[in-house]
């Protein structure tokens, strides 16, 4: 016979488990996925408790993690995060129990017997808070700025799984001893120790990866600037060569005029001088216009992407009429967003079915009294999608499981209240604009 208390425990157990598993990754799951996760957790828990008590709660956990893995586009890191929060919740529970035991002389057995409502409510709120903190910490330190190599992800996951298995085994053993207080103490010490080791390991890992990412970014920037300098030098040589020619041209023309040879002069003008116009319309010179952009991070990323665009034979135009030296946003964030926009534009312009004259990319940056504006515009024959759904996960012209770039861009800009984004599609031109206001 099931008592009300059992039901109560059962319901709280499911809610707590759901909070702990979904809490840290809540912003990655849609409402439907969250509901499905909750249902799976509930159903599998019911099956386990009544049919397979021996394997409680392994089955539920495995099912939930597999589900999370597929819901978040096979992202192992989100599973790790969820699992980590699960471990944290167990450690927290034990710490609370030991505080209650040492401070108030309340053993777990007594609490379960007498104070179950307030105890359970307290634990639920605690889990909500801890999930929120784990999510914030993760977003702050890892977020989009670090990419874990796959083997490290797998290693972390296996390590966390072993921890979890040990934790659960010990807990089950303890409940088979009817929550003997000695066992609770042993577990508290054991779990806390385990958890601290894990914590230090993860912090170290993130620290190392961050440093590596920083060095990589710096190297890329340095390389970009080096290439840029080389371009400028080539341009300078070009101008010097022209200066030299220029004198020759003038004297030749003077020679023709001296002898009133108008017909040869006309021929000479058409053959030799008119084409010179094109020397200075060489598109690689567009890159020299980046000199007005005085923010190294942005110059680096624009340079890299625009070189790629020119190499692919895309007509690339850059407009930065006046110097731009400061924006009211983190430079790396804006560099990342511009990189994503440019990657998308270049990818769209590199489609084989486009005629050469349609491959046009425009980049413009300007500053006025109140803001700095970035515009990236590319030709796009037709936009088969709802424009305002771009940037939602999985919604992409590029097929399933894409559309991550614009989503990351949107997430990166979300915290900035002084940034205005505008996306338009008009006359076959797709335009992304961001306006960064001065505070």
């Amino acid at each position: 016979m099931i008592s009300i208390i059992d039901l109560f425990y059962f319901a709280f157990g499911i809610i707590d488990l759901y909070i702990v598993l979904a809490g840290p990754i809540t912003n990655l799951l849609s409402a439907a996925k969250k509901l499905l996760l909750l249902i799976v957790i509930t159903v599998s828990t019911i099956i386990q408790v009544f049919l397979l008590p021996a394997i409680t709660p392994y089955l539920t956990l495995i099912l939930a993690f597999v589900l999370i893995f597929f819901f978040t586009h096979r992202n192992l890191l989100t599973v790790c995060l969820s699992l980590f929060n699960y471990l944290l919740s167990i450690v927290l529970t034990y710490l609370i129990l030991s505080i209650l035991d040492n401070g108030f002389n309340l053993t777990e057995a007594v609490i379960i017997e007498n104070y179950y409502i307030s105890y359970n409510l307290f634990i639920t709120v605690l889990f909500l808070i801890s999930s929120y903190l784990v999510r914030q910490t993760y977003n702050h330190f890892v977020g989009n700025s670090i990419s874990f190599p796959t083997h490290l992800e797998v290693f972390t996951l296996i390590y966390l799984c072993i921890c979890a298995a040990l934790f659960i085994y010990n807990y089950n053993y303890e409940s088979s001893l009817l929550f003997s207080q000695d066992m609770v103490r042993v577990n508290t010490v054991l779990f806390t120790l385990f958890f601290f080791v894990t914590g230090i390991f993860i912090i170290l890992l993130i620290y190392l990866l961050r440093r590596e990412a920083d060095v990589k970014a710096q190297n890329a920037q340095y390389e970009g600037l080096q290439q840029y300098t080389a371009q400028l030098e080539a341009l300078y040589q070009n101008i010097r060569a022209f200066k030299h020619d220029y004198v020759n041209i003038l004297s030749t023309m003077y020679g023709f005029m001296e002898h009133d040879e108008w017909q040869p002069l006309k021929a000479y003008y058409e053959q030799e001088i008119l084409p010179l116009n094109h020397t200075f319309q060489d598109e690689s010179q567009e890159l020299a216009k980046l000199s007005n952009l005085q923010i190294p991070e942005l110059k680096g990323i624009l340079y890299n992407k625009l070189v790629k665009s020119l190499e692919l034979g895309i007509h690339t135009s850059v407009e930065i009429r006046e110097p731009v030296s400061e924006i009211h946003a983190k430079h790396v964030d804006i560099a990342r967003v511009l990189g994503i926009y440019l990657d998308n534009a270049v990818e769209a312009l590199n489609l084989p079915e486009l005629a050469p004259e349609d491959r046009r990319l425009y980049v413009a940056i300007w500053e006025d009294a109140e803001s700095v504006t970035f515009v990236i515009r590319n030709y796009c024959k037709d936009l088969p999608l709802n424009i305002h759904k771009l940037g939602t996960m999985n919604y992409s012209t590029k097929g399933q499981n894409r559309g991550l770039g614009l989503h990351i861009a949107a997430q990166t800009l979300r915290p900035y209240k002084n940034i205005h984004r505008d996306t338009t599609y008009e006359n076959h031109m797709f335009t992304q604009m961001i306006k960064i206001f001065k505070e």
């Binding site: 200075f280 319309q281 413009a364 305002h388 002084n418 940034i419 505008d422 996306t423 206001f437």
Partner: protein, 256 residues
């Protein structure tokens, strides 16, 4: 009547443009007149300012060279013009190397750019610009704008261009969908509804729709199809509001 102002520092080219335009006006019998053809930006500014002070019912058409060999270039000149004339049509004439289309389009709302290198098409391009300017001048409707706050600043959007406004996943943020694109702003639908004209109807808890952009209504499925082909949902109560409003629209249309 459209008044035309030309600024080009090279007198030979200036005369060339002037002749081109005069010929077009003569042949097409356009209701236009060259009020100033000058080499100095100050002279153009003075002429245009005096004219608009005398009679602001006339719209202005400016043809500006960008590289004026002066303290202010065509870009700065256009900015000056925009201070007193926000509706005028501005067309730039440039050499290819100084083309800065996007900057000019967004900052000056320039109408067109004509490149000097393209001598053969110059006349035809100017002609096309004059024609478009005349068309727009004759149909220029009353535009009501709506301002959205971004930080401490405001972004203005033409209300006619808005298809609908909807809530987003994040609270306190709304999405404005126009015929050409979309933007997100901080705000609530309720506050936004206060600033919108009568053309807008709250058809659902999460949608305010512009009745002029509704193409069809499906009463059973409770959906509206909009002018860009999108569908938008409506509540049972909301769809009745929409039907009533669209009927009004229709009867007005029938009367006129």
């Amino acid at each position: 009547m459209l008044s035309i102002y030309i600024c080009e520092d090279n007198p030979v080219l200036l005369q060339h443009y002037q002749m081109l335009i005069e010929n077009i006006i003569l042949i097409e019998e356009y209701d236009m007149e060259i009020r100033a053809a000058v080499t100095q930006p100050d002279e153009l500014l003075n002429a245009a300012k005096t004219d608009s002070a005398l009679d602001d019912s006339h719209n202005h058409f400016y043809l500006l060279d960008i590289d004026l060999h002066n303290d202010i270039d065509g870009f700065a000149l256009a900015k000056e013009i925009r201070r007193f004339d926000s509706r005028g049509f501005i067309v730039f004439i440039t050499t290819h190397s100084e083309m800065a289309m996007l900057t000019f389009q967004y900052q000056i709302e320039a109408m067109d750019f004509i490149t000097k290198d393209d001598c053969q098409n110059l006349g035809a391009r100017i002609h096309a610009c004059m024609e478009t300017a005349l068309e727009r001048y004759h149909v220029s409707p009353e535009v009501s704008m709506i301002a959205f706050k971004v930080g401490n600043h405001f972004i203005n959007i033409e209300q006619n261009q808005i298809l609908y406004v909807t809530s987003t996943d994040s609270p306190h943020k709304i999405k404005v969908v126009t015929s050409s694109g979309y933007s997100e702003f901080y705000g609530t639908l309720n506050n936004c509804a206060k600033d919108l004209t009568n053309d807008f109807i709250r058809c659902h808890k999460a949608f305010i729709v512009n009745k002029n952009h509704i193409q069809s209504i499906d009463r059973k499925a409770l959906t509206l199809t909009l002018s860009n082909g999108e569908t938008c949902i409506a509540s049972t109560r909301g769809i009745n509001h929409v039907i009533r409003a669209v009927k009004e629209n229709f009867s007005e249309f029938a009367k006129s």
